[in-house]
């Protein structure tokens, strides 16, 4: 047992590659817990940021600055009555949230949080993620069909049409990135870890590769991924002003919260694809240009210092809380949060820890930017009409994706092409 635990610790590959089932299981549990926790955090952040964008305060009463609000909501959802409509197809109705949640979580099998921090390195990683995450739409259609009600059915119909149209643009954008991996190094790869490593080898994130080609492909993907996860401004399947709540109208309590969990997990999943393909995955900024032990040390201090800065901000918030008797418990608990954050920050500064967590930190920071963008879009853009949605998907993103793909191939092979043309002329 001890041997099994120790055997993996010093290896520089993922548990899947090392063949350590125990550590793979530990990683799976850790990732599941981490993703669920970040969904809870996202719930709070989304409500707060959206409120601030609308010049409101957002949740303020449950805990300091509403920090306990998601837990209160989760508790409420758990103890709510579990309703299955009379005419619903019980089995399918029961299966739908399970399918959606399972597919959303399964994608995280291949997400590399670091060179060693992934469950496994699959040689078809990107394909696996795309395939599994598009299975999620099956769950949505199941939910809409099994509810035996018109709004859910409309929602799921919209969802399937949307997925079909945007998956193509998404795929074309991904193929661009995959093409880029094969340039200069010669061998292309679909493995998530391989893609990040080829970005390191080529000395550039793919978003800056063949500027502006990589950037355009990234934009196409960024738009398509919002549509894929049914988020505003492409949230037609659950348009609350048109379809009550879309495909999960008939769901309540825990089943509904599973849909919620799946939606945010899918958002995290596609954001991780985008980060891996275009933003260098776990790589810190300038791994090649600012190399060397000094820069390594400087960059490895950033995670701890960031958390310490967050702790300082929380402490500042504690000082600025209104000083009245009714708020005393909230002030104290916010202070406790600040102290905990400071402790975490100090822990991340330890020499043994900071080298291990650095790549996780950079990956999570990049994904967090995407999550903020999701909320930002939702706070800004009005929903597209269905024909506009289709127009954007088929008439704009698809041609752009195709064009970028062809241009990437041409630019990438320019020397060989030139040689062939010159040779042909001769």
């Amino acid at each position: 047992m001890l041997e099994a635990i120790k055997s993996y610790l010093n290896s520089a590959v993922t548990p899947g590659e090392a063949g350590s089932q125990l550590w793979a299981a530990i990683y799976i549990i850790a990732i599941t817990l981490g993703v669920s926790l970040s969904v809870i955090a996202m719930n709070w952040l989304e409500r707060k940021i959206l409120a601030h964008m609308q010049i409101r305060l957002g949740p303020m009463r449950v805990g300091p600055h509403g920090l306990m609000q998601p837990f209160a909501d989760a508790l409420k959802l758990l103890i709510k009555e579990d309703i299955i409509p009379n005419n619903a197809d019980k089995l399918v109705f029961w299966m739908a949230p399970v399918v959606v949640t399972m597919t959303a979580f399964t994608t995280f099998l291949v997400v590399p949080f670091g060179r060693t921090h992934a469950v496994t390195d699959m040689n078809i990683g990107v394909l696996f993620m795309l395939g599994i995450s598009s299975l999620g739409v099956l769950g949505i259609i199941m939910a809409g069909w099994a509810s035996n009600s018109k709004y859910p059915l409309m929602g799921s119909l919209r969802s399937s049409a949307q997925m079909v149209s945007y998956e193509i643009a998404m795929g074309l954008a991904i193929v661009c990135a995959v093409l880029m991996t094969s340039l200069q190094t010669g061998t292309g790869t679909l493995s998530m870890i391989g893609i990040v490593e080829s970005q390191y080898a080529q000395g550039t994130w793919f978003i800056f590769k063949f500027f502006p080609l990589g950037f355009i492909a990234f934009i196409v993907f960024a738009i398509a991924m919002i549509a894929e996860t049914n988020r505003a401004p492409f949230d037609l399947p659950e348009a609350e002003s048109e379809l009550v709540a879309g495909f999960h109208t008939e769901y309540s309590g825990f089943r509904w919260s599973l849909f919620f969990l799946a939606e945010y997990t899918a958002m995290l999943g596609v954001s991780s694809i985008a980060v891996t393909l275009w933003l260098g995955g776990w790589l810190r900024p300038f791994p090649n240009a600012l190399g060397g032990p000094t820069w390594d040390l400087a960059f490895s201090l950033i995670p701890g210092l960031t958390v310490l800065a967050m702790a300082a901000g929380t402490f500042l918030g504690t000082i600025r809380m209104p000083k009245i008797v009714q708020m005393r418990a909230q002030v104290i608990s916010l202070g406790v949060v600040a102290v905990l954050l400071a402790l975490v920050g100090l822990f991340l500064l330890l020499p043994g820890v900071r080298g291990r967590v650095q790549d996780i930190f950079w990956f999570v920071a990049k994904v967090a930017c995407f999550m903020y963008m999701y909320i930002w879009y939702r706070g800004t853009f009005p929903r597209y009409r269905f024909d506009q949605l289709m127009k954007v998907g088929w008439k704009v993103l698809l041609p752009i994706g195709l064009g970028v793909l062809i241009l990437t191939a041409v630019v990438g092979m320019r020397q060989e092409l030139l040689a062939a043309i010159v040779g042909g002329a001769r």
């Binding site: 940021i49 601030h52 010049i55 305060l57 209104p322 930002w376 879009y377």
Partner: protein, 153 residues
């Protein structure tokens, strides 16, 4: 076809503008929501709210001399003042004062009409009640303010 609208569309200028607006709105200075029971709004000096009948702070006697000017000034005729001359001091003293808050539109004409500054519309804005009966204010309620309903034990 001019090139500018096309370029605006391609570079998504309008979308970026919208994004910048929502981003700037996140600033704490923009926040307008107040956490009401904990944070109390400051009303203007000339805000007209809950009516009050002032008393002489030294003697505790009502400043009202039952001149009936406020009742005459009131466009809603919701003030009814009854008084009686005190044979000893030869002054009119209040027998009953009613102020029907449910009909009041807070125009402040009574306040202006009052010759002794006895009647005043204060800055107090918490006037919600569970019954209409509580809105008929008598002299005691007008002088000491209404007792708020307390729910805590």
């Amino acid at each position: 076809m001019s090139l500018t609208p096309l370029l605006r569309k391609v570079f998504m200028v309008d979308l970026v503008k919208g994004l910048s607006v929502t981003f700037q709105n996140q600033s704490e200075k923009e926040r307008v929501t107040e956490q009401y029971p904990l944070e109390r709004p400051v009303v203007f000096e000339r805000y007209r709210g809950q009516p009050r009948l002032n008393v002489n702070p030294e003697t505790g006697e009502s400043l009202c001399i039952v001149c009936n000017l406020c009742a005459l000034a009131c466009p809603e005729q919701l003030i009814v003042v009854k008084g009686e001359r005190n044979p000893v001091t030869k002054r009119k003293e209040v027998v009953s004062w009613t102020y029907d808050l449910s009909r009041c539109m807070f125009c402040g004409l009574c306040e202006e009409a009052c010759s002794t500054d006895a009647l005043e519309l204060t800055q107090d804005y918490e006037m919600a009640l569970y019954s209409r009966e509580g809105m008929m204010l008598d002299q005691a309620a007008l002088e000491h303010g209404q007792e708020p309903v307390r729910y805590a034990k």
